[in-house]
Amino acid sequence: GAGVSQSPSNKVTEKGKDVELRCDPISGHTALYWYRQSLGQGLEFLIYFQGNSAPDKSGLPSDRFSAERTGGSVSTLTIQRTQQEDSAVYLCASSPRTSGIGSEQFFGPGTRLTVL
């Protein structure tokens, strides 16, 4: 009955290093989203996975960002050669279906990334 979990909760890294952020969605949820939330800002869509379909990567800000979802469950967001402007909270959400009522997104607590 656990919700969406994310790890680590906090990550401090040096500029130029690669980081991996993990998301464990709610079991059985077919849709998975990654968002970025900068301090005091709204949610910036990054990438969306739905079942076995090709992911919607249209929100990724640069080719330094990539994500994968293995076995339709766990997802990893990778940021290569991190920059200071990558500092933000990265939120993962999952959803049991893809349209209308019931497609509510359940969010994890986020990973706070700080790039020094």
Binding site: V4, A31, G42, L43, Y48, G59, L91, S95, G100, F107
Partner: protein
Amino acid sequence: QQQVKQSPQSLIVQKGGISIINCAYENTAFDYFPWYQQFPGKGPALLIAIRPDVSEKKEGRFTISFNKSAKQFSLHIMDSQPGDSATYFCAASMGDNYGQNFVFGPGTRLSVLP
């Protein structure tokens, strides 16, 4: 077309007062309008949602008013409490509800004074 506008950016209300947050959209294909509540250090959580075939939905102290012709919807928090202090996001999605078709407003930071 994909934007959802939200106002005000921040709101301060006395305990017991009414908090009102407004959102507007352009794309008439949107068919699901949820509101999310986010406390500091937590991810957003669904608060209440509405479909465009109704003009109002009430759950406890929270009410969504929906004006389809004006393409606007609002959240009303009656008898606001300090525990309601959070950031509120409106959102809109359409049909297949994927990726860029699930759009969030920029958020409203609500502070309810004791």
